[in-house]
Symmetry: C2
Subunit: 139 residues, 2 copies
DNA sequence: TTAGGTTGTGCAACTTTGTTGCAAAGTGAT
DNA sequence: ATCACTTTGCAACAAAGTTGCACAACCTAA
């Protein structure tokens, strides 16, 4: 458990007090290859309440430690940001939602395409979700 | 009311039986400059139940007469497709969600950007929502 | 035109997700 | 160890979507 220190550091770097619960949630999110919903976390962590998870992730997002996307599945999906992420538009990446296994993946290597907007429109955020069948499901 | 015939034709062209309710919902959707949620339609049409609206729009979507996007506001937004639309990926357009007036607009002139996916991924659909402040709200 | 079956609609109930209030438990500084 | 402050668990609630069922509307055939 000594390596919990790295999670503690991640939290501190973002000015979040590292409680046991927050370390656990952060660790679980980082360990998960796909994005997680609140319900996913609730299932992976028998000890955590959804309200706690909700508030914890909200806190993470306010401090740019995590981001969320709406993949159209009905529940929001969350993932931990890169260590230097400040969640600006230029840092946004694409997401892929597999319609078969219902998992959502961060495609951190694929930046969200930017398009010119008509005059007087201000751009603050972009949700770019590709939907289809993932590699594991398309055998 | 004679020009309800055009809505009737739109429905028939998509193999949807043109009932009074369906014509009304279609007309209301077409008349609206922004996308509408089920609740929006419920409010605009005092006479329609949300379950009816839900089933009607679901039917429209199955017949490619309408499309829906998830703008992250918590409720899905719907709009009527172009007359020849078959809802293929190449026909998808961008959507803009104004964080101030909470309205979502179809940007039919802006096609959704396509990016190459890794091997073995199949693409079926794309949700591309730009969020910010619209022209009317940014005065 | 009417009878009969099919389709559509309204009502109510329910599911799921997200959200909040409040009290108890935990935390950290003195 | 105590105290003030923060975090967590529980419960209740809100909003959107979804479904079952009964009645109404509709369509066709005789």
């Amino acid at each position: 458990m000594a390596d919990n220190i790295i999670y503690e550091e991640l939290l501190k770097k973002r000015d979040i007090r590292p409680t046991a619960m927050r370390i656990l949630i952060l660790k679980t999110m980082i360990d998960s290859p796909e994005m997680v919903s609140i319900l996913d976390l609730e299932n992976k962590l028998e000890t955590a309440e959804k309200s706690t998870i909700f508030r914890t992730i909200s806190l993470f997002m306010m401090h740019n430690l995590a981001h969320c996307i709406d993949d159209g599945s009905g529940s929001l999906k969350y993932a931990v940001c890169n260590s230097e992420c400040s969640c600006s538009i230029k840092e946004l990446h694409a997401h892929f939602y597999c319609e078969k296994c219902k998992k959502t993946y961060c495609m951190k290597s694929i930046p969200v395409p930017l398009i010119p907007l008509p005059d007087k429109f201000t751009l603050n955020n972009i949700n770019y979700v590709l939907k289809g069948i993932c590699d594991k499901c398309s055998k």
